[in-house]
């Protein structure tokens, strides 16, 4: 199929917005228009709430939305990971039932992957799902679950077969959170925030038609989710941007953002807050100290080069050139930048780096940076796992021999706490 020209699309979307965009609609009402017209997700397939456009044409549409100040579909939090996963692996019925409410923002989603006994080794998870008639019965515990306390649905990865090798015994489900068998407890982190949850499942129930993909095919489905998670991680630094504008849509959008984004409010600090380094150093009077300047220089340079690397990847995409290694490095680069930023902040703050809260530099932000940065090297795939992935997939180095893949999961060594 030939793609329409950018100019034609631009005119079409302009005309559509002129006719339909109305800031006095309710947020849900407006987004239903986006969903039914396909303009909300132009790069999605035309039969599933999109237009089947390329990334480049999607940009054209987005630019027109920005120009008109029009609000887009709900895209924050974990929901887009769920959407991408369902688009690729969901049944027709699942897509029809679940996708629209993801895009309108009516449903919030969470990701039930990690467990106390399996973090990096996700495929070693031990939450159990057993079929009982037409219902899967789920038992086990998940952890690091953002937004579980106000989510309607969870993407659940559970073990359905213990007698096959670990990756082949997993299945992917859509779990309703609001049910008696699911208990959500906040998890307090070392930086004092509690943006994650523990989720306990005790005979929780999943209807049989909420299995995504094939029984035993859950790992393939989860890989789609994880691929999108890695891609999204780079964008986290910009989250929490306030929307301006008058009208009901904007008001409700701001409320939604405040609610959905609450767990992410420390993420900029986790990424190092490079923007605060020079102001902190000026205030403390340490900008002239050559030792401090070296630390600052390292952080500023890494940040700049990391931005340019992301731009390079984008430029190659836009020019239709094959992706180079620069596109796979974002997450590891973000860790390196964050750690350099933390060192620079500590150097720039001087003895005030002892302090936290309102007594500390930048209204406590420096302290929060120092206590949040360790998370960036763990969340969404540790630096060590990232290096393995880069070494194996980008550089083509051989995989490490393993003794947990060709044997039934039942016989694999596990953590003492995991059943």
């Amino acid at each position: 199929m030939n793609e329409p020209a950018a100019e034609q699309v631009r005119e079409e979307v302009r005309a559509w917005l002129a006719e339909h965009w109305d800031p006095d609609l309710s947020l849900t009402e407006w987004r239903r228009r986006l969903v039914s017209s396909g303009w909300g997700c132009p790069t999605w397939p035309a039969e599933w709430f999109g237009k089947g456009f390329s990334e480049a044409l999607g940009e054209v549409v987005q630019a027109e939305f920005r120009r008109a100040g029009a609000v887009g579909v709900a895209s924050s939090g974990v929901r887009m990971l769920a959407a991408a996963t369902l688009l690729e692996h969901g049944s027709e019925a699942q897509k029809a039932a679940l996708l629209p409410r993801i895009l309108t923002g009516e449903d919030t989603w969470c990701q039930l992957f990690s467990e106390p006994g399996s973090g990096s080794d996700l495929a070693g998870l031990t939450t159990r799902a057993q079929l009982d008639g037409d219902t899967w019965i789920v038992n086990g515990q998940k952890v690091w679950t953002t937004s579980a306390h106000h989510a309607q649905y969870g993407m659940l990865l559970a073990r359905t077969d213990w007698d096959v090798p670990k990756h082949r015994g997993l299945s992917f489900f859509v779990l309703e959170i609001e049910q008696p068998g699911v208990e959500v407890r906040p998890l307090r982190q070392m930086n004092g925030h509690a943006s994650f949850n523990e989720v306990f499942m005790t005979d929780a129930r999943v209807p049989r038609d909420m299995l995504v993909g094939k029984q035993g095919g859950g790992w393939q489905v989860a890989l789609t989710t994880l691929a999108h998670e890695r891609r999204q991680a780079d964008g986290m630094r910009n989250w929490g941007r306030a929307e301006r504008g008058e009208g009901r849509v904007y008001r409700e959008l701001r409320e939604e953002q405040a609610r959905v984004m609450e767990p992410y409010k420390w993420y900029p600090q986790r990424a190092g807050r490079v923007d605060l380094i020079l102001p902190v150093a000026r205030t403390s009077g340490r900008l002239a100290d050559p030792v401090v300047r070296q630390e600052i220089g390292r952080a500023l340079m890494l940040e700049r080069a990391s931005q340019w690397t992301a731009r390079r990847a984008r430029a190659a995409r836009e020019l239709g050139q094959p992706p180079g290694p620069e596109g796979s490095l974002g997450k590891l680069a973000a860790s390196v930048v964050a750690r350099a930023a933390a060192r620079a902040h500590a150097a720039a703050a001087g003895p005030d780096a002892l302090l936290a809260g309102p007594d500390a530099p930048a209204e406590g932000m420096v302290a929060e940076v120092l206590l949040s940065v360790p998370a960036i090297s763990i969340a969404g795939g540790t630096d060590q796992i990232q290096r393995n992935i880069i070494a194996e997939r980008v550089l083509g180095l051989p995989k490490e021999p393993r003794d947990d893949v060709d044997v039934p999961f039942r016989d694999v060594r596990r953590n003492p706490s995991s059943v």
């Binding site: 070296q294 220089g297 340079m301 700049r304 690397t309 430029a315 290096r387 550089l395």
Partner: protein, 385 residues
Amino acid sequence: MSQLGFSDEQRQFRDFVARFFREQSPVTRARESMSSEAGYDPELWRRLGGELGLTGVHVPEAYGGQGFGAVELGIVLEEMGRVVYCGPYFGSAVLATYALLEGATAAQQERWLPPLAAADIIGSLALAEPGGGWEAGIVQASARKSAGRWRLEGTKSYVLDGRTADLFIIAAREPGSAGPQAVSLFAVQAGAPGLEVEPLQTVDATRPLSRLRLSGVDAELLGEPGAAEPVLRRVLDRAAVALASEMVGGAQALLDSAVSYAKLRVQFGRLIGSFQAIKHKCADMLLAVELAKSAAYGAAEAAAREASVDELREAAALAKALGAEAFLQAAADTIQIHGGSGFTWENDTHLYFKRARGSEVLLGTPAAFRDRFVEYVSAREVAHE
């Protein structure tokens, strides 16, 4: 305008240049050149000029060049860096050529740029002095005017290709003056009376350096008197960008070598590339190399579009510091991954290691550029407030 992307033409140009150096100037050629009498391969050098036009890739067509810009120059240097090309390109086509482009009168440019662009002559910029670096402020050599002639006195050091250069561009100051002002650039031809060239022993044998002793050397003033400081800034920023390109080429070649060795070498019954200790080193190397490439490409774009002085100096400092660090990291890690064989003369890695050590210091250390980068970024932030 492409932001950190290469056009199809530029990609074709890179393929062409890469193939030329891979086939005509593999690392064995650098080994031969560095131990030869001339210290470079005159035949290959002439081909870079006349046949390929690479020595004048960034020189305007009016002066016999190709009329391209800093991005194409960066591509040439990156591909040279991959093979540790041993010849006067950086000293002549980059430093000396930029000095003439930025600081000479039209008549002087007409006289010297065509032979430089054609690689008919070799040029060399003599700025640094013993113990002093690449900035106008350190210049102590003096230029005295008497009876309408300029006479130079003093000592220049770390002069690239001193032994083989035909034309020296020498920075000297008004006698008794101090600071970066009152410094001018002069042209001196090789063999001029009172000019003594002493070759220096260098860590990197592929980049020969000399000391120049100037005893009343007859010199021609380039451009205006006392105007060298801003000229040198522009020259050195552009040269830093070019050197960064060369460094990322070298770093990429090292990474390739380390990775292919890790896919061949067996220890403890396994390919060593399957050990995480090796994998993680390689992944870190890739990250450093890609960040440095982004910096070099972004800086070359800034130089090519004649960005503001502030923007270019910032980008140049970034590219030079990150390029040097990535190159050194890649060189040290590649030796480590090769193990004992990586420390032998026979293994090519040491040629890159030495080039990395030299390039780290040439034009200024990463620490100096980091310091400047902070100064520039901070000044821009304050100005915007």
